[in-house]
Symmetry: C2
Amino acid sequence: MAIRMTEQVYLVLLALADHPRHGYGVVQRVLELSDGAVRLSAGTLYGVLDRLTAAGWITESGEEVVDGRLRRYYRVTDDGAATLAAETARLESLTRRAAAVLRPGLAGA
Amino acid sequence: MAIRMTEQVYLVLLALADHPRHGYGVVQRVLELSDGAVRLSAGTLYGVLDRLTAAGWITESGEEVVDGRLRRYYRVTDDGAATLAAETARLESLTRRAAAVLRPGLAGA
DNA sequence: CTCATATATATCGCATCTCGATATATATCG
DNA sequence: CGATATATATCGAGATGCGATATATATGAG
């Protein structure tokens, strides 16, 4: 299952990078990582979670009931971690290029 | 006309940042900016160009016949330039966050 | 007690976006 | 003569985004 590396997919992967989280926790983490700019809607969240699971980049990682509510946890797989690292490197390279285009002559161009 | 800031949209905007280019020139510039990773298909290119024009972020900038073939040029508007600068800043911030998550303790975390 | 909000899950369907296929045309190189 | 590169553009299938909707519990305000 090949899925498209969209920003939403990248952000969910990044949100799960440090430790397993449940869906709602992913939304909060993405909000934090994006400085409040990206609030994943429920439709987007579960769609991405399903595709990421089908791609083998994340996997379900147990359930837990907290305050009477179910939490379903997900964690990044080795494949997912490798993909995330590669995609991060690609984005860093791209932003460096972009900076050189938009702000030329600032050392590093 | 609000359009979605996808990576393809961002790349076309960035490709037009330094000076006007025609469609085919945009494809080549994006290929270069992405280190050969992103080869815009014709369908994507003209779709993005149309949406970018409708959003007022780029505008047609004359035509020219070179070697018997028509070139239709596009340039970034002030609104487009502001959007591109803001989006670049957002991406830089995001990649800094990502680096801090994936490679903690490397100064700047 | 009630209502709103936050937490937490999930699905549905419309709109949007991507992208290969297709079409048309000229120039170049083998 | 055919393949490849340059150059435009459209079409439609499939993928993706996201608001609306549904269900359920906990908490705090009024």
